[in-house]
């Protein structure tokens, strides 16, 4: 029958369960609290405000643009780094991951010092008549800078987990670099790539500090949803909470939707993903 070992096992299992419950409660409580404070009617009414709609448009456009840039440059870069010997690529990968450990205002200050009017590239940029600060380009640049590592890390790991023998086989059978990348490596790495893309998109939507520092805040132009929450807080707590709730709904929705849609095709998931996309 059960000895002392069985009892200890039960306690261990209990504490594992407790840890899960504790963390779930800790994450869910603040999220639920945002929705609990404002009655649904007020929430919907607040969402028709000019500020919320403008910020929504700016946020969606900038985040999707940033994602496009990240996928376009991040995917080939990750493939290149993943297929080189690790000792060569480790330093380069660490540099690309650097924004993960930089506080966003520091990232924003860095962008200003590099691309601002008085920055390192300020002179050359001005010579060709380009000013970046306070424009939507600045918003997209801040988002790319901060969210790129979320995609690249995941993408490198995904490409590394592709069986090298399959790549070798593809080359032996006569497929070129490009064909091997598009027909073998990319489909096999897709689940990981999509998870990375979803993370990067969610991070973009939530970006605050670097955007405020580098792009400023102008409603309808550079004011994103997180910045609008902060600004509206000064005027009206309910309005700020409504925008916060919108942000939670969109970020969580896109995050889950993206993960499902870009996942490895699977019959049972296909149904739920199409219904999710209809809601999103």
């Amino acid at each position: 029958m059960r000895g002392p070992a069985g009892r200890i096992d039960r306690w261990v299992a209990f504490f594992f369960g407790l840890a899960v419950a504790a963390l779930l409660a800790f994450i869910l409580l603040p999220v639920v609290a945002i929705f609990a404070r404002v009655p649904p009617g007020t929430l919907v009414a607040q969402l028709h405000s000019r500020v919320a709609l403008d910020a929504l448009e700016v946020s969606l456009r900038a985040s999707l643009s940033a994602l496009a840039v990240i996928l376009l440059f991040g995917t080939p870069a990750a493939y290149a780094l993943a297929t080189r010997p690790r000792r060569h690529s480790a330093t380069l990968t660490t540099i690309l991951e650097l924004p993960l450990v930089l506080p966003p205002p520091v990232a924003g200050l860095g962008l200003l010092m590099a691309f601002g009017r008085e920055g390192l590239l300020g002179g050359p940029l001005r010579a060709v008549g380009v000013t970046i600060t306070f424009t939507q380009i600045a918003v997209v640049m801040a988002l790319v800078f901060v969210s790129l590592p979320f995609f690249v890390r995941q993408a490198i790991a995904s490409f590394q987990s592709v069986d090298p023998q399959l790549i070798a086989a593809s080359r032996i059978l006569g497929a070129g670099q490009a064909r091997t990348f598009f027909r073998v490596a990319l489909p096999l790495a897709r689940p990981g790539l999509s998870a990375g893309a979803a993370l990067a998109l969610a991070r973009s939507l939530g970006e605050f500090g670097a955007t405020l520092m580098f792009a400023g805040s102008l409603p309808g132009s550079t004011q994103t949803l997180p910045v609008a929450v902060f600004t509206e807080l000064a005027r009206d707590l309910d309005a700020a909470l409504a925008i916060a709730a919108l942000l939670v709904a969109i970020s969580a929705g896109l995050f889950v939707g993206f993960k499902l849609l870009l996942r490895e095709p699977h019959p049972s998931w296909l149904d739920s993903s199409s219904s999710t996309s209809a809601i999103v």
Partner: protein, 267 residues
């Protein structure tokens, strides 16, 4: 068992939270009193000096500060943040807290004026406020939600009388960013990213030669009045009232004047 364990955990977390709050709120130990002043960000250079002088005159009382935008301070007080004194940058917010019965009757202790600042190199060649309406100027101001931004828009409207009816429209069209606080305006002008910005005179004076100030005609000025009030829930009301009197008294006046603040308008 699962439900039970998570409920117990939530209870434990709440208990820990309550203890922590209790610890933070208690300000007096061994006969020493610590006053917490919730102060407007623009007071962050003069109030620490004020605290030093006050503690000299009142040994046993130390003063610490929590600096933030006045609107954020109001939200904190309304949400029950522990604190003893409110010192804001807009009379409107003092009145609001008084009407909501969070603070005693506020008293005006200082005034501040706005000034236009430009980078030392003055890339857009701004010599007077009239130049702010030239197309293509990159202007940074406080958002409409913060006192500095509200005063800025009032001043611009007042300047229409001087520079013509379309002046403020043209200036508002040059705004490239609505910053959430004066520090944001100051930073962007200092770094040369913006051609001009509106800040308080005291902010411009505090950074010395890092920016150049362009004065506004005094008839167009919107004067910011700073209210101070004892918070009703304070556990050290007597000490808090002494600090309030100190700020309003001769030493407080002198320190504020040195920092560039004006005296409160005679009531």
């Amino acid at each position: 068992m699962r439900c039970l364990s998570s409920a117990a955990l939530v209870a434990a977390l709440l208990a820990v939270g309550a203890t922590a709050c209790g610890g933070a709120a208690s300000g007096s130990q061994d006969g020493l009193t610590t006053l917490t002043v919730l102060s407007a960000a623009s007071l962050d250079r003069v109030f620490p000096e004020m605290a030093t002088e006050f503690s000299k005159a009142h040994p046993g009382v130390t003063v610490r500060f929590s600096f933030a935008g006045t609107d954020a301070l109001v939200a904190q007080i309304e949400q029950g943040s522990p604190g003893d004194i409110f010192a804001g940058a807009s009379a409107k917010y003092g009145d609001q807290l008084f009407e909501e019965r969070f603070v005693d009757r506020p008293r005006a202790f200082a005034t501040n004026r706005l000034v236009v600042i430009v980078p030392p190199a003055n890339p857009a060649g701004i010599a007077s406020p009239e130049d702010l309406s030239k197309p293509g100027i990159k202007l940074v101001v406080g958002a409409e939600t913060v006192p500095a931004g509200i005063y800025t828009r009032k001043v611009l409207a007042n300047l229409d009388a001087l520079y013509g009816p379309s002046y403020s429209q043209a200036v508002l069209a040059n705004i490239v960013s609505d910053e959430d606080n004066v520090e944001g305006v100051l930073t962007k002008v200092r770094l040369g990213e913006a051609d001009a910005g509106f800040v308080y005179l005291t902010d411009a004076e505090a950074v010395g030669g890092a920016v150049r100030a362009v004065q506004l005609p005094s008839e167009a000025q919107a004067v910011a009045t700073y209210p101070i009030a004892v918070i009703r829930s304070s556990a050290h009301r007597a000490a808090a009232r002494r600090f309030e009197s100190f700020v309003l008294g001769p030493i407080g006046r002198r320190l504020l004047a040195d920092a560039g603040f004006g005296p409160p308008a005679a009531a």
